[in-house]
Amino acid sequence: MARTRPIMPAWFHRLGSPKGFYSMTTPWLPWLAAASLVLLIGGAVWGLGFAPADAKQGNSFRIIYIHVPSAFLALAGYYVMAVAGAIGLIWRMKLSFVAMKAAAPLGAALTLISLVTGALWGKPTWGTYWVWDARITSMLVLFFLYLGVIALHYAYTNGEAAGKAAAVLALVGTANIPIIYKSVDWWYTLHQPATIKLTEAPSMHPSMFQPLLVMIAGFYCLYALVLILNIRAEILHRERGSHWVVELARSRRS
C-alpha cells in the first residue's frame, strides 16, 4: 500500500478517518438541521398553501412537492452510493464503505416514497393507482436495485467483504441506470414528459415552480443530514471498542 501518496489537503485525510469524520461533522449538524427545517416548512407552506391550483388537476397536483424531490434524490442517492463504493474499491477507504452502507437504505426509502406518492397522484389523475408506465417501472427497478445492494450487504458476515461486494453490485447497477433511464424515452406512454429539463425553460408556471425548487433544496439538505447521521451511527457501531468512542460515551453520560 505504501506507494506514492498524492498530495491532498488535510481535510481530505481527516474525512477519510472515522474519528476525523465524526468530529468534523459534529458542528455541521445544527446548521444542516436548521436549513432543512426552514426550507422544507417554507417550501411546503408555499407550495401547498399559496401556489395556484393546476388548471386541469386542481389541488391534487400539489403532491408534486413531495414526489419530484424524492424521485430526484432517489436517483441521485444511487449515484452517491455507487461513487462511495467506487472510492472504497479504488482507494481502499474504510469510511466510503460506511457511507455506501448508510446511503443504501436512505435511497431505498426515498424511492419507495416517490413510488407511493406517484401512485397516490395517479389515482385522481389517471383513475388508477398503478400504471405500467416507463417512468414508474424504471423507478420500481431502481427500488429493486437498492434492495439487491442491501440484501447482498446483509448476506455477508464479513464486514469488509460485504462492503466490497455491495460496491461491485452498485457499480454494475450504475452502468444499467442510463439504460433504464433511456427506457423512459422508449416506452413513453401515459406519464407526462419530464417537467424539469436542465437545458430548456421549465414548462411549469414560475409560481408553481419556485416552491418546488425550495422543496428540492430542502430535500437535499435533509438527505445530507440523514446520511451524515447514518454514517456517524455506523462509525460508532464499528469503532465501539476503540478508545475515543468509549471516551465519548463516558463524557456524554456524565
Binding site: V141, F144, L152, A155, A161, K164, L171, V172, A175, N176
Partner: protein, 234 residues
C-alpha cells in the same frame, strides 16, 4: 499479476482453450444437470395453458412475453451453478492464483455456460412456440433474439453468481440481485418477437439486444473477476 520468469506459464490463449474444453467436458459428464433448465423451460410452458387458458388466440398474444420470461428464469436458475462446483473443490482458487488474467478465464466459463444453457434454450424455443401457438412470423425473431439475449443473460448472471458464490444458500439472493439487471434484455427480447408477430421489422430491437450483449461482454468479465476476488479473499 505477472508470474516469475522461471515458472513456465501456459500461453494465455491455450489456457483459455484448456478451460473451455475442461468445462465443456464436465458439463457433458453431468448431462442430467445440463438438462434441468431445459426441462424447467418446457414444464413451465405446460403450466401456462393450464393456469391461464388453452384457447390458442389468447395464448398467441401471450406467447412472446411468456417464452422470454421462461428463458430468463431458466437461465437464472442455471446461473447459480456457474462457479459453485469450482468454488467448493478449490479450482476457483487456483484460477484466481494462475498467472493468466482472471477476466479471460471468467470469459471462458461464461461462454461454456451459454453453450450448455442459452444455446439449447434457443434451439428448444420453437417447440415452445408451437405449444403456445406463437404465430409463424415470430419464430425467426424469437430464435435470433434468444441467441443474443441468453448470451447477455449469461454475462450478467455471472456477476451475480460471483458475488454470491461464497454465501451459503445464495441462490435466492442471486435472483434478487440479478433480476433487475436482466430487465432491459427481457424488454427488448420480448418486444422484438412481438414486433415480428405484428408484421413489423424487429431489426432495431435485435440491434439493441446485440448492443446490450456487446456492452455486457465488455463489462461483465471484469466485474465478475473483481467479484470473485471479493468472494474468495474478502
Amino acid at each position: 499479476m505477472s508470474a516469475p520468469d522461471v515458472v513456465p506459464t501456459l500461453a494465455t490463449g491455450r489456457a483459455f482453450r484448456a478451460l473451455l474444453v475442461r468445462d465443456l467436458t464436465l458439463a457433458f459428464r453431468h448431462r442430467g444437470e445440463m438438462a434441468n433448465p431445459l426441462i424447467f423451460f418446457v414444464m413451465v410452458a405446460t403450466l401456462i395453458p393450464l393456469g391461464v387458458t388453452p384457447e390458442s388466440r389468447q395464448l398467441a398474444a401471450l406467447a412472446p412475453g411468456i417464452i422470454w420470461v421462461m428463458a430468463l428464469l431458466a437461465s437464472l436458475l442455471s446461473a447459480e451453478s456457474l462457479f459453485l462446483a469450482d468454488y467448493r473443490d478449490g479450482t476457483l482458487e487456483q484460477l484466481v492464483l494462475s498467472p493468466q488474467p482472471l477476466w479471460l478465464m471468467v470469459l471462458a466459463k461464461i461462454t461454456v455456460h451459454w453453450l450448455v444453457t442459452g444455446l439449447p434454450l434457443t434451439l428448444l424455443s420453437p417447440l415452445l412456440g408451437i405449444m403456445l401457438s406463437l404465430p409463424a412470423a415470430g419464430f425467426g425473431s424469437l430464435m435470433v433474439s434468444l441467441v443474443l439475449g441468453t448470451a447477455a443473460l449469461s454475462m450478467i448472471g455471472a456477476i451475480g453468481a460471483a458475488l454470491t458464490v461464497a454465501i451459503s444458500r445464495g441462490g435466492l439472493l442471486l435472483s434478487l440481485i440479478v433480476m433487475p439487471l436482466y430487465m432491459p434484455v427481457l424488454i427488448f427480447g420480448a418486444s422484438a418477437v412481438q414486433l415480428a408477430v405484428d408484421g413489423m421489422s424487429p431489426a432495431g430491437n435485435l440491434a439493441v439486444l446485440g448492443a446490450l450483449l456487446a456492452f455486457s461482454c465488455l463489462l461483465s468479465p471484469f466485474a465478475t473477476a473483481g467479484a470473485l476476488r471479493v468472494s474468495l479473499h474478502g
